[in-house]
Symmetry: C2
Subunit: 620 residues, 2 copies
């Protein structure tokens, strides 16, 4: 893992992560944060309370790992309470100040009260916070007051700021949290006018736009910057405009991250900050993260096959019009080509845990105008590098590993370099089925790493979000995220079962596929039929419903039926596509024709496709 | 599986289930509905569209299975549209009428429009629905119009009824859906005044009370009756008061059910209707489901052990003051007792798929005033019976299998019957640690079956809901449901990881435990310490936080620390409890003392307990 680069946004700006973002014990979390290169952590109270490490031990551990403890959080339901309660709260605060002294944390987060006995009295809140700040100050500590979006009387940042102003104590400032602010309003107008020395802390979280109770939204669905819908670049710019130079600190409550590998979550978190920092430097070169070179499409996709699945996949490729054009100089790897579409069949990379006969997409290779630049960017964004699989006189292909375990290669356009590893068979790649190129690759994601994978591919490859959705498949809900490069030459479709696969649907992995583009699906289908390609059958009910919904021209319907093809249309154009049956228990091919400006993926037809391949989904 | 009893609520009342409630293909769903004893199904359009069965084939299959097709659903965005759209919609409807004729379904569900081009004009809606009804009528079909809670202009049942009245067509009526009605208002005032012959269909779903967008709530979080917070008995009473005698039809969109075994979901669904029907007969004897006899506490809990875990568990029971009082006449089963607390250690029921050294709770036995009555109720509620494990001269214990695979035995109070299977060892059960009885048993549930298990235990045993909650544990969120009998002698605590265990937390099952009651935890703890019981260590941070929060008397804090005990309190009383370490990788014991009227389970302390047992949770 490379050392993360220096932050760009000025000296003293630090990267922090709240322990609540990460799964495991406090010790797991500190180790993960340090390994990902964070400068500091916020310690979430419950993580310390449940820990067998004393505060002093935790502090020593953090120091050994090179982590500062930037914040102790949260202290709840403190202010604007009747006098008796206030005395109790001060006693409680003093006990937590004891803990902070042992931790070496100098800032405590006080959330605006949600207590039923809190009163709506800013002067009382200011007076009680002043007393708290005075006691904190006596111990060299300070208090960051944060408006929870669901605070009982104080729920906006400007309200919390008015109270801090009214208190006027040097050890009392505000904590700004992007979720609490942007969940209520898409912009953070006015934040930039705050005096920076009264912004004591900055917490960052992204989130999808959801229409639900804000507390539940906040506690379950936050995401790292770049994974949701908030304008975090604009928000951080506003905060930096105040002169704030404290940590950029991630505080993300997320049900999936809570149970996922903390080491991976911490790297995902760090990557999100690197991408955010890149956004803060729009227009300038951001030396920490080299820019993404332009992509020119897929160089190849590599499938792992074995003695059983290899011939099955090869026969299907042949029926699809592909030709076996090259054989690797030193390894059992075949190159199959048609037009600009290329598939490698690699019989040396089946994993031992996989069932015999399996096929799987093992690597994606994209053509980059600057493969070394692409690799440098991937490395800067903490993509793990893959040990080379290079033989003598073979191309030095740079590869990184994606969160779904696929290897990602960066190649020169036109096959320069990697093609030299293959001895030509003499066969021509002018395939007869009219397939032109790889339209997209579709990868099903491991449940724990869907949002991580989205940010990974998007940032490492410089892709843009194309479409996001959710659909009901026969075996559960499926969530989708499609990404593409600006020129639409590299398209990647990610999906994940929303709740993992049901226990009754046996444990085969969800299938993956490669989609090839044609400009004449009828002709392609004719070729496939003539060559005996095993196409996925399409139920007549589908065509009946299609016709009921869209009132298609009878000849179009007939052509679709003849081709075993699916259909979709939108304002931009039309989409016709067909599928092979599933091969090697896991992989299938799609042929697509985009007509007019259609840019989608025919997701509306996915449930029919999944129901039609029940053997692949349910084979035990 | 016993045949479900006749419905009680009148001749002609049928039980139906929508295919959308169940996972799998249409064929899977029909088979599951029939096996659970449903009379009919609603066919959800997408389930037919994705099916390779033609409508006529599906109809034949349903007939063969004894299922009527009670409804075809849904037809969307039909009414109150401009004329051109209306012509398209009529064409679409005619095509769906073709499908219905082949299916043999006579009623189509039309949902109130959500289309942007729908206009707010009841007269237009009524006129267009009249035209639709006229065309349906010409084919012997009828139209049930339903107000979606998020309909664009029509979102309440009374609004849909006004439009149906205005239309005045005999083939047009309303469909009442408990979710759409009760999600907007806790009662269904006025429903009972509808004319029953204009209520064409009744759809039932329960749901938890959630504060979120009603469409998302409806599409993801519905539950079967009795699993949520709605008053479905009151609702169905109101609908039956109209004279409606059509199906009670379940329509439940639920993310978990969508991916769970459809055979099990269908039985869960049928059980929910049986419980609902029992509720409709409050006060009267409901012959279909015999009443739940009174329970008198736990007779015993049985643990599966092997040669490694057996001695480990036995040693711990001995240190806890239990005595090995009996040995089974024919099997390697030991009876351990103390007061009224009894544990069986069974070395004959370890499952082959389990790791060597494992211990697991395999059976719960409750004392019932009428064990045969309890068994008859369980059978009527579709609990699968367990093949007897009886030897010559051994008690004929009736047992059923719960959704979490635990066996549930019904025993006579005082040990009559089952105790005769054990030869006394001569040792006395007057244990020295002061344990009095089994306070509760805590079972972690399989992800796919948490709501099913809740309804199962609640209905079969006649338990009431005690507490429901959710907490953040170190390895993910945990959801809890505590149940108890009316006399609080049988308490059962269920829990499930909200998103299953993370992929990084290795695959050991979540631990289960048995809690024993004492009335002097200090004395019990003293005994445990003296006898070397391996207690779970409690971090000092926990006590510091407890003291900061609750300002405990110093001597109480000292006693808790000395006992390695946890503490909770509420308005009713106090709770002190301690845990052993995890045994056999999966099972531990708890000792609890309830002081005053405390009725909870100390859930607030669960994260500390889970973090303190990391080896059990994370051993690979």
């Amino acid at each position: 893992m490379p050392t993360p680069p220096e932050p760009l946004v000025g000296p003293g700006l630090r990267r922090s992560v709240a322990t609540v973002c990460l799964s495991g014990t406090l010790e797991d979390k500190l180790a993960a944060a340090a390994a990902a290169g964070f400068d500091g952590v916020e310690i979430f109270e419950n993580d310390l309370v449940t820990s067998s490490s004393s505060p002093a031990d935790a502090a020593r551990r953090a120091t050994d790992l090179g982590l500062a403890i930037d914040l102790y959080q949260p202290f709840r339901d403190f202010e604007a309470v009747p006098d008796g309660v206030f005395r109790d709260n001060l006693r409680r605060a003093e006990r937590k100040f004891d803990v902070m002294e042992q931790l070496g944390a100098d800032t405590i987060l006080v959330c605006s009260s949600v207590a039923p006995d809190a009163v709506d009295d800013d002067a009382l809140a200011a007076a009680q916070l002043t007393e708290l700040a005075e006691r904190a100050s006596a111990r060299g500590l300070r208090v960051a007051y944060e408006a929870l979006a669901w605070g009982r009387h104080v729920s906006t940042w400007d309200h919390s700021w008015r109270i801090v102003q009214q208190a006027g104590h040097p050890a009392l400032g505000v904590c700004l949290d992007s979720f609490h602010i942007l969940s209520r309003s898409p912009s953070a107008d006015g934040v930039a006018e705050l005096p920076g020395d009264k912004v004591f802390y900055l917490q960052l979280a992204d989130a999808p736009r959801l229409s639900m109770d804000v507390l539940q939204w906040s506690r379950h669905h936050r995401l790292f910057p770049g994974q949701g819908a908030f304008d975090l670049v604009g928000f951080v710019e506003a905060v930096l405009a105040t002169g704030y130079r404290g940590p950029l600190s991630l505080e993300v409550f997320n049900d999936v991250f809570r149970q996922a590998d903390p080491d991976r979550t911490a790297i995902d978190a760090m990557r999100s900050l690197l991408v955010l920092e890149e956004g803060l430097h729009r227009g300038e070169a951001a030396p920490a993260t080299p820019p993404a070179p332009a992509l020119r499409g897929y160089a190849f996709t590599e499938l792992a096959v074995d003695g059983v699945s290899g011939p099955e996949v090869a026969n299907t490729l042949a029926a699809l019009g592909f030709t076996h054009t090259g054989q690797h100089r030193s390894k059992p790897v075949q190159l199959w080509e048609q037009g600009q579409a290329r598939v490698l069949l690699n019989a040396a990379v089946v994993r031992t845990e996989e069932a015999p006969g399996v096929a799987a997409i093992r690597a994606l290779a994209v053509e980059s105008d600057d493969p070394e630049g692409s690799a440098a960017r991937a490395s800067a964004l903490l993509a793990p590098s893959v040990p080379r699989r290079r033989g003598v006189a073979e191309a030095d292909l740079t590869a990184v590993r994606s969160p779904d375990e696929a290897e990602l290669f960066f190649c020169r356009p036109g096959g320069r370099g990697w093609r030299d590893d293959f001895l030509p068979t003499g066969a021509s790649a002018d395939g007869g089925a009219g397939l032109l190129h790889t339209d997209h690759v579709a990868l099903t994601q491991p449940f724990d790493h869907f949002d991580e994978a989205g940010l990974f591919y998007q940032s490492v490859l410089g892709l843009e979000e194309d479409a996001r959705g959710e659909f009901a498949a026969p075996f559960g809900l499926v969530r989708t995220l499609a990404l593409r490069d600006p020129s639409r030459q590299v398209r990647l479709a990610l999906s994940v079962s929303l709740l993992r696969r049901g226990e009754w649907a046996p444990g085969v992995p969800d299938p993956q596929h490669i989609a090839f583009g044609t400009d004449d699906l009828d002709a392609t289908a004719e070729h496939l039929r003539a060559h005996g390609a095993a196409l996925l059958p399409v139920p007549q009910n589908y065509y009946d419903d299609l016709d009921a919904r869209l009132d298609l021209a009878p000849e179009l319907l007939t052509r679709l039926q003849r081709a075993c093809a699916f259909y979709d249309r939108d304002e931009q154009g039309e989409f016709v596509h067909l599928y092979t049956e599933v091969l090697g228990g896991r992989v299938f091919f799609e042929v697509v024709q985009r007509i007019g400006g259609y840019q989608g993926y025919g997701v509306v037809n996915a449930p029919v496709r999944i129901a039609a391949a029940p053997t692949a989904l349910r084979a035990s």
